[in-house]
Point group: C2
Chain length 416, copies 2
């Protein structure tokens, strides 16, 4: 019978083997009463199994509150635990409750983080997954052999549909591939969702008719299920190609319901992620997290960026991008969305760490505040990536391409 395996980073002042078994018992058939007719065979069929325990370093203080150590030491370890697919079948929420549920309550652990998952082959027949992924998003935008260049409408909230459409017009003229709503904007008092779609799609469709290039705009449809469906239909009717969902705020069942429609590329925003990941020994790591959303049908997912303005390290960002590129169940392709403080100067380092151009590369000020105007900003980002792929340094790329050179002279200083 197929099994699902989860890898956890744990910390405990108690015996490692016993603690791992406790987790496995708590999350499956562990029990304190004998049930008439219950056989050992039946119990084993549904029992979680500890597959491996790899001790790591020790700490003198507990990472999160829990039982105190008698000897003052807290042992860390990687453990792998597996469950039979018979426990929950293809039910994602119950799988999440099994892998990420009450185990976080166990006082015996002073640290617990879900690091990665291994899903069985039959999941591929049960989950539609992303309809578009990397190849589909390239086809929808007509962009090949370089990252899709995108930007976010700023200010996040407060602009009217007309002001937003004017900005979209500027960006479309500049040759942008992708634009998105901010996650703070759903349907505000001065920018109702339908009116915003109308105003923006009029601009995007006009440019598409003129140039043959249709800008992908990810409208933030996050809302109740019924309203998300109406928003989705509105985008589709208006000729749009993408819908954005705030994954953590909507939740897994809601995202899967929308993801399964499969007519628009789903842009997965992970705002709230810091709450789930920022502590090194609590929560979930991206290699596990992104698999759940790929199963739910997300085509694009945020991974932060190299040298970002947030707290996340470059190493963590690299791991996240690599996790997206790892085939899931033989495919289930998802496009990593690189953003936060990006202006192009990070392209060289990004490509050095992960040599691929299969990215949606988002920049804000690097486009809108470019000294040659937004068109110069978009070209500069394309140049930055060309330089990166050609093995040039930032300085060499700046010397070769004037627009990127201007980026470096303006934004490079701020960075340094």
């Amino acid at each position: 019978m197929e099994r699902i395996t989860a890898k956890y980073y744990i910390e405990t002042p108690l015996d490692l083997e016993k603690s791992a078994q406790l987790l496995a018992g708590e999350q499956s058939s562990g029990t304190f009463i004998a049930v008439p007719g219950e056989t050992e065979e039946l119990k084993q069929r549904f029992a979680a199994r500890v597959e491996s325990i790899t001790p790591m370093d020790t700490a003198n203080e507990p990472a999160i509150p829990g039982v105190l150590s008698a000897g003052g030491k807290y042992q860390r370890a990687m453990i792998e635990v597996s469950w039979s697919i018979e426990n929950f079948g293809y039910n994602l929420p119950v799988m999440v409750s099994t892998l990420q549920g009450n185990l976080y309550e166990l006082t015996q652990f002073t640290g617990l983080k879900l690091m990665d998952l291994e899903l069985p082959a039959s999941f591929a027949t049960a989950f539609k997954g992303p309809k578009f992924g990397i190849a589909g998003c390239r086809k929808l935008t007509g962009v090949y052999n370089r990252p899709l260049i995108g930007t976010i409408i700023k200010p996040s909230i407060g602009m009217t549909p007309e002001q937003t459409a004017a900005l979209v017009n500027t960006l479309a003229l500049a040759g942008i591939d992708f634009i998105k709503d901010d996650e703070l904007l759903g349907s505000s008092a001065n920018s109702p969702f339908d009116k915003r779609v109308d105003a923006i799609m009029e601009v995007i469709n006009r440019h598409a008719d003129r140039s043959g290039k249709k800008v992908m705009y990810a409208f933030n449809i996050s809302d109740d299920i019924d309203q998300m469906q109406r928003n989705y239909e509105k985008i589709l009717r208006s000729g749009g190609t993408s819908a954005m969902i705030s994954l953590n705020s909507v939740g897994l069942a809601g995202v899967k319901k929308i993801g399964e429609i499969g007519e628009l590329a789903i842009h997965g925003h992970r705002n709230g992620w810091g709450m789930l990941n920022r502590h090194p020994l609590l929560g979930i790591e991206f290699p596990a997290y992104q698999q759940l959303w790929r199963l739910a049908g997300v085509d694009q997912i945020h991974v932060n960026g190299i040298q970002n303005k947030f707290w996340e390290s470059d190493d963590s960002v690299v791991r996240s991008i690599e996790a997206c590129f790892k085939p899931l169940l033989g495919g289930y392709s998802v496009l990593p969305v690189v953003s936060s403080g990006q202006w192009g100067g990070q392209a060289v380092e990004t490509y050095r760490r992960v040599p691929s151009v299969d990215l949606l590369y988002m920049a804000g000020g690097g486009i809108m505040a470019h000294p040659d105007g937004p068109a110069g900003g978009v070209v500069a980002l394309q140049q930055a990536w060309q330089g990166a792929v050609d093995g040039l340094s930032v300085a060499e790329t700046a010397a070769k391409y004037p627009e990127f050179g201007h980026s470096v002279s303006v934004f490079g200083k701020k960075q340094a």
Copy 2:
């Protein structure tokens, strides 16, 4: 214009006022580019506002990774930030992205926890909320003037519908008010959802016909949206009165979609909660958390229990119960579900800390392993609460009531 106010517990090595303003800016109209036609008035309309800053103690080490302190000190504070309802209206996911989104990514904070919310009066017209709450759950079970006494089917997973129904039969004969599936059991290989409902409701309906008392059974419907709706209908058709949902695993949009149906009492299971709350300076506290689920229509919500087997402190449990009892928008009543290691001995302390019997009080071994059998266990729990309400000590209650006395002699020793 109405405003939504959120209270955060923060830690930062930087200036408190500037850090609070940074959070407010990041989560609203903070921007780096001037937009043509944008007025200061429009910007102020959508800007988040820092309402108060209350400095607290300092720490010498950052609670979570972020910017390092130049002087080696990390200042903690409570801050209140408010948003106009014009920013997101009655859109719960966008409200969550605003209150709990990218702010957790800000490296300027070395601790950030959402503590509480104040919602504006007009939310009462926009959200149906819990259909049953405390009064409705009492009416459905016919239990008044004492806590509802409940239990969880154990082992969590592995039993057949017939085995489960036999256990339900024993419990119904014992006079139990409430039974629930474990969160690990949705539809397993040997306990498909529909078959389990059939087997269990046959027992419950038979006892109801006989005694007039219908046991409330919370079947775990957690699944995809469409399947949850089918599961819900199945329970309703079979004469059931409650559906359980794993809140964090299904997510806010999915829970609200089901909660709004309003035909079954929604039992809200918060498994995964430790991930969101266990660190003192990261995540969300229950007074904020439970409001979101009440808006989504949850009638019962887990709060852990006094002297529980998990990591949570009694003080935290008390705060959670009190949060449930605080009227939301004039009502939106929710029944706190007390569980984890409860056998009745904690009733006195629970009532001393929160003098109310409006609880669903869950015990496992205290019922099934009672020396007088399950019926003795159920009676003992009722006696424990009668003693607590009458101001008796555990010893006095044990002396007065034989069944509870037997509980103390068996379970009291384990506890001590």
